[in-house]
């Protein structure tokens, strides 16, 4: 049994079922992201773990102890909100010490813990300030310190970076991950930003309309998406409709070129997906499927150049690296693209 166990969790608001048969086991010290578009039920799952919503059915256990029915203030869960939610009437140090005071920690120990937490978030000098005197990024770090100070069993973060500037968002997410690893605290991080989830998670739960579509490491989620939704939501993906020529052997035709998927397929048409970085410009050994196309778009991104080519059946995005001796093709140029059948993902609906 995992440290945090969620079994058959469901939640309805009136007639609307917002979370459907949600199952997840989280190991101690693991960093899990709930990733999905707005309205898919991420916050609702998190709020049920925190105790702010009561599940319609299902179980939530932390370290074997049943949480359902336990009031939120008894669950020993740290929570960080998108809107920071610092107490405006308290200083930074008092905010961080709030949970300790309630737990009845004596003054000396509490002061030491507050100092330790402020050092952890790199704001040791700001203890006497009030929240309104801090920047958004500083406030959110204080909120993190406040949540961690009473040593919760689990840390929950609901889109903690969404209200911040792009630059701070990136640096703070790294910081959150470092602090999480240093403390080894079990964490659930809610986000709608796939890059955020991919960059800092041990495992990602991709949610879609109240269902956990796929659970896996960032590598698995990115390279082996199990549903069409996951494939589309995480990263950039080319989807190609292919005609199955031999269902038993797994032969298909893509825009006139043959590819051997090497596994049984349904007859008729299938949707195949391929990441931009798995398509090469020109013919390469080991990339046996060759497609003819016309360049429609060239985006110079720096080290990588993102190109688009029309192959008739679809427009494919693909990447090449920047090289001083080989300028990228121009729009309108006729090109050959090659890819390997093993990089083609079969999408289920």
């Amino acid at each position: 049994m995992a440290f945090l166990d969620i079994e058959h969790l469901e939640k309805s608001f009136g007639p609307m079922k917002v979370v459907k048969d949600f199952n997840l086991g989280i190991e101690k010290g693991e960093f899990i992201s709930l990733l999905g578009p707005s309205g898919c039920g991420k916050t609702t799952v998190l709020r049920m773990v925190a105790g702010f919503e009561t599940p319609s059915t299902g179980a939530i256990r932390i370290d074997g102890a049943d949480m359902v029915g336990l009031r939120p203030n008894r669950r020993k869960i740290g929570m960080v909100f998108q809107a920071y939610a610092l107490f405006p009437n308290l200083t930074v140090a008092q905010n961080v010490g709030f949970g300790l005071k309630i737990a009845g920690v004596n003054r000396t120990d509490a002061d030491a813990r507050v100092a330790e937490m402020l050092a952890l978030i790199g704001l040791s000098d700001l203890g006497p300030r009030y929240p309104f005197q801090l920047s958004g990024g500083q406030q959110q770090r204080v909120a993190l310190a406040r949540a961690l100070a009473p040593r919760p069993q689990v840390l929950l973060l609901d889109e903690p970076l969404s209200a911040l500037d792009a630059k701070i968002r990136v640096s703070l997410r790294t910081e959150i991950r470092e602090i999480q690893q240093r403390l080894g605290i079990t964490t659930i991080f809610v986000t709608h930003d796939q890059e955020e989830a991919l960059s800092i998670s041990d495992r990602i739960v991709v949610m879609h309309q109240g269902i956990a579509d796929q659970v896996g490491s960032p590598y698995e989620i990115y390279n082996r998406p199990s549903t069409r939704f996951v494939a589309n939501f995480v990263g950039t993906l080319n989807v190609i409709e292919a005609e199955v020529t031999d269902p038993a052997k797994g032969h298909v035709r893509i825009a006139g070129a043959a590819a051997d998927l090497g596994r049984a397929l349904p007859s008729g048409k299938v949707s195949l997906a391929v990441r931009p970085e798995m398509i090469s410009l020109g013919i390469h050994p080991g990339r046996e499927t060759v497609l003819d196309g016309t360049i429609t778009d060239v985006h110079f991104l720096g080290s990588v150049i993102r190109l688009k080519a029309d192959i008739g059946a679809a427009v494919l995005a693909f990447d090449t690296f920047n090289a001083t001796d080989a300028p990228p093709p121009k729009a309108g140029a006729r090109v050959q693209l090659s890819l390997s059948a093993k990089d083609l993902l079969l999408l289920q609906d």
């Binding site: 405006p88 709030f98 737990a103």
Partner: protein, 260 residues
């Protein structure tokens, strides 16, 4: 042209309010023949009945404020947090004291809690004081509730509550340490209005036969010449001091607490 009209209107308005006040103040200073003096004030302040009733009303005002805060802050908080759809209804209920005359309320009290009722509050002085405090709280409810509710609008009640809960706080701690401090300015302005209302209230105190400041002013007014004028000026000063304090705390708050 319109500007001159506005000035005339303003001067007329100011005169309308200020002249009686000036006249009254001037009159209150004329007790000693031929010279201005504070004789009337000295007399009023030296009157043991003044000290008694004034002290009584201050005490009642403080009790009313305490009771009102304990009643209104948790109620307004709870309505905002859990029953947002009931807000218009609750607001309507809190406005009722403005349309129901105090005399109706106090007669209702006397009928309900007289010595032959199930709860004979009017039988003892303490019971009657309690009743009077409830009456005062009712009269100040529209102001107190509005002030607190406006104060609650400036903070994110739901998220702050959840943040406090996740840190282990129960309801009492949340209200006392998170909600109340953040609406303190609003509570104070409600408290000053309550204070002014209680200090001047006549009907309830008179009908319940309590030694309050309002009935004393009335009694003095019926029997003396200069002292009532002095008393009226004192009463005005109290009310204005309350208004000034409301302004002061409101301004003071803008420095300590700006929303992020």
């Amino acid at each position: 042209m319109t500007r001159i009209g506005a000035w005339i209107a303003l001067a007329f308005g100011l005169g309308y309010f200020a002249l009686p006040l000036i006249g009254m103040t001037e009159f209150s200073l004329k007790m000693r023949r031929g010279v201005y003096s504070f004789d009337a004030y000295a007399k009023v302040l030296a009157d043991p009945r003044f000290q008694e009733t004034f002290g009584y009303s201050v005490f009642m005002a403080l009790m009313t404020i305490a009771f009102g805060v304990l009643l209104v802050v948790p109620t307004a908080y709870w309505v905002r947090l859990k029953l947002p759809r009931a807000r218009p209804f609750v607001e309507f209920v809190t406005l009722l004291p403005l349309v129901i005359p105090a005399i109706v309320i106090v007669f209702g009290y006397i009928r309900m809690f007289n010595t032959s009722s199930f709860l004979p509050l009017t039988g003892t002085a303490t019971g009657t004081n309690l009743l009077l405090m409830f009456g005062y709280a009712t009269l100040s409810l529209p102001y107190m509730y509005r002030a607190v509710d406006t104060g609650l609008r400036t903070i994110d009640v739901a998220t702050l509550t959840e943040a406090a809960q996740s840190l282990g706080a129960g309801w009492t701690v949340i209200i006392a340490r998170v909600i109340l401090p953040n609406v303190l300015v609003a509570v104070l302005s409600g408290a000053f209005v309550t204070f002014a209302i209680v200090m001047g209230e006549f009907t309830m105190a008179a009908l319940l036969n309590r030694p309050a400041f309002g009935p004393y002013m009335q009694l003095l007014g019926a029997n003396r010449a200069y002292e009532p004028a002095a008393l009226a000026v004192i009463a005005f000063a109290i009310t204005w001091a309350c208004m000034g304090l409301i302004q002061l705390v409101t301004r003071f708050s803008k420095h300590t607490k700006a929303a992020r």
